[in-house]
């Protein structure tokens, strides 16, 4: 029998789990033991609860290495809005499609290229389709490529700046140093993660299973510093742990969050000391503050969040695609209808639902033909689940390795 893609990924998951934990079994066993012990002390007070990650790479590690299978029953690991492509409203993709058909060269990252728009523009439902229909859409790996290419042809061009704080410092550098040629404008759709973290946890507080601990994004924290999460820990009274991307890092973060809960603490702690400090990169923070203004921004599937987005500041408005092309911002009522019918990305992006509970998951919506935004980006929760599966096989191997 020829193995299907999903079965292959299941096998890979087992191999990964075995490789990592068999060779590091003592440490893994110790951590899983702590997690179980702490959870037992907490379950009478908390019942079922969630630990939430906010980064596609953490979700990848959790899913790829089957870490969910190592958790005690009642402790759920869920993904929060850690994928900027997933939370960018369709309106802005449609605006880019329109520019593309008006003859403006559109520069985009590869995952945004495939992102389906809710409404078709000139027959195109994504930038990929627009390219096929004659629009000049070019995939780049970063703004440096767009700058070099736009300089070479001199035509009107726009760079779709989608990302979190991590890309903002690079864009700020380009704006402040005047690196963008006159013909290239930046459409800043940068989003800020702390407001989304606050909003998501508050929405889920009303659910049966609330978020009691957070695994904070490691690379965002290199720029913002761990201090960015202090308001989250203070306001919500839950531990926030900044951690790295190895499976052991993630297990340590979960154990640390539970330890704090047992001690009735709610602190920000850094496990990822090899890249993250408390203050973060002060120069990068300064550049971001100078080049951008903070705005209330719309998150696809979530709605408007105060102080959660970056648009170019007045001083650099000559580089702003919104101003140059008169791109309208979206009206609040727009957010009600921002996803395709049947798609559960709105619930999945905040960790309220699992991809496997979506009626479209792996039926109509697959990595090769995505319907919802969470299936498009490599970092989208659905795309990660589709590639690495959560099919119960990891449970069996964990039992076999005596990790549970």
């Amino acid at each position: 029998m020829v193995m299907g893609k999903e079965e292959k990924s299941g096998t890979r998951q087992i191999e990964g789990l075995e490789r990592v934990f068999r060779n590091n079994a003592e440490l893994a066993k110790m951590l899983v033991g702590y997690i179980g012990k702490f959870y037992n002390r907490l379950k009478n007070d908390f019942g079922t609860f969630k630990i939430m990650d906010f980064c596609g790479t953490h979700e990848w590690t959790i899913t790829h290495y089957g870490l969910r299978s190592l958790m005690p029953e009642g402790l759920e690991l869920v993904a929060g809005p850690g994928c900027p492509v997933c939370v960018t409203p369709s309106h802005y993709i449609q605006s880019a499609l329109k520019l593309g058909f008006e003859g403006v060269v559109v520069y985009t990252y590869g995952d945004v290229f495939r992102l389906p728009s809710l409404k078709r523009v000139n027959g195109a439902g994504s930038l990929a389709e627009a390219k096929a229909l004659g629009a000049d859409v070019r995939i780049v790996t970063g703004i440096a490529d767009a700058i070099a290419d736009a300089r070479s042809h001199g035509k009107d061009a726009v760079f779709l700046g989608i990302g979190f704080e991590t890309v903002a410092s690079g864009y700020a550098q380009a704006l402040i140093r005047g690196l963008l040629p006159d013909n290239l404008k930046l459409m800043s759709l940068v989003k800020l993660t702390p407001p989304a973290m606050l909003a998501t946890v508050e929405i889920l507080a009303k659910e049966r299973s609330a978020v009691k601990g957070i695994i904070a994004p490691g690379h965002v924290s290199t720029i913002t510093g761990a201090k960015a999460w202090k308001p989250v820990a203070d306001r919500l009274g839950i531990p926030v742990v900044v951690t790295g991307f190895e499976p052991i890092d993630v297990l340590i973060a979960i154990a640390e969050a539970l330890k704090q809960l047992v001690r009735n603490e709610a602190k920000v702690s850094i496990e990822y000391t090899r890249a993250v400090s408390w203050e973060g990169d002060l120069k990068a923070q300064e550049m971001i503050a100078e080049a951008f203004r903070v705005v209330e921004d719309a998150w696809r599937g979530i709605g408007f969040l105060p102080e959660s987005g970056l648009r170019i500041s007045e001083s650099y408005s000559s580089c702003d695609a919104f101003r140059e092309y008169g791109i309208p911002e979206i009206a609040p009522e727009y957010c009600q209808e921002d996803l395709p019918k049947g798609c559960k990305c709105a619930e999945i992006v905040i960790g309220k639902e699992k991809p496997t509970n979506c009626p479209l998951f792996m039926k109509k919506c697959r990595p090769s033909s995505p319907v919802g935004p969470c299936m498009v980006s490599l970092e989208g929760t659905c795309a990660i689940w589709a590639r690495f599966g959560a099919d119960g096989l990891a449970d069996r191997i964990a039992e076999d390795l005596d990790l549970r």
């Binding site: 060779n23 890309v167 990068a284």
Partner: protein
């Protein structure tokens, strides 16, 4: 979008850096941190075409050591180890060149 890939700085040209992910292909990226912090041979994390942080040689070596520990057989984990080995070696070579 917090996918970050370790790389080595080959050249610094103002706000741009030429980096190598260990595959020998030079790529131009923008520096999102204070560029005076960077020099040829430095190890960095690159995210979506932006240098977002510097890694110390010791820390990157520690990660490689950890990967070596867990990667007994060939596969993805050891691919990652190979990646680390290549950039660590390249970093040393570039530093020796000066």
């Amino acid at each position: 979008m917090c996918w970050g890939v370790p790389a080595v700085v080959k050249e610094i040209e103002g706000e741009f850096a030429e980096i190598d992910y260990g595959d020998g292909v030079p790529r131009r990226v923008i520096v999102g941190i204070a560029e005076e912090r960077l020099k040829k041979g430095d190890l960095v994390i690159v995210h979506a075409g932006v240098v977002i942080t510097k890694l110390s040689y010791e820390d990157a070596s520690k990660t490689a050591e950890m990967l070596r520990d867990i990667a007994a057989t060939a596969g993805e984990a050891s691919e990652l180890l190979e990646h680390y080995k290549r950039i660590l070696r390249l970093s040393k070579d570039l530093e020796a060149e000066g």
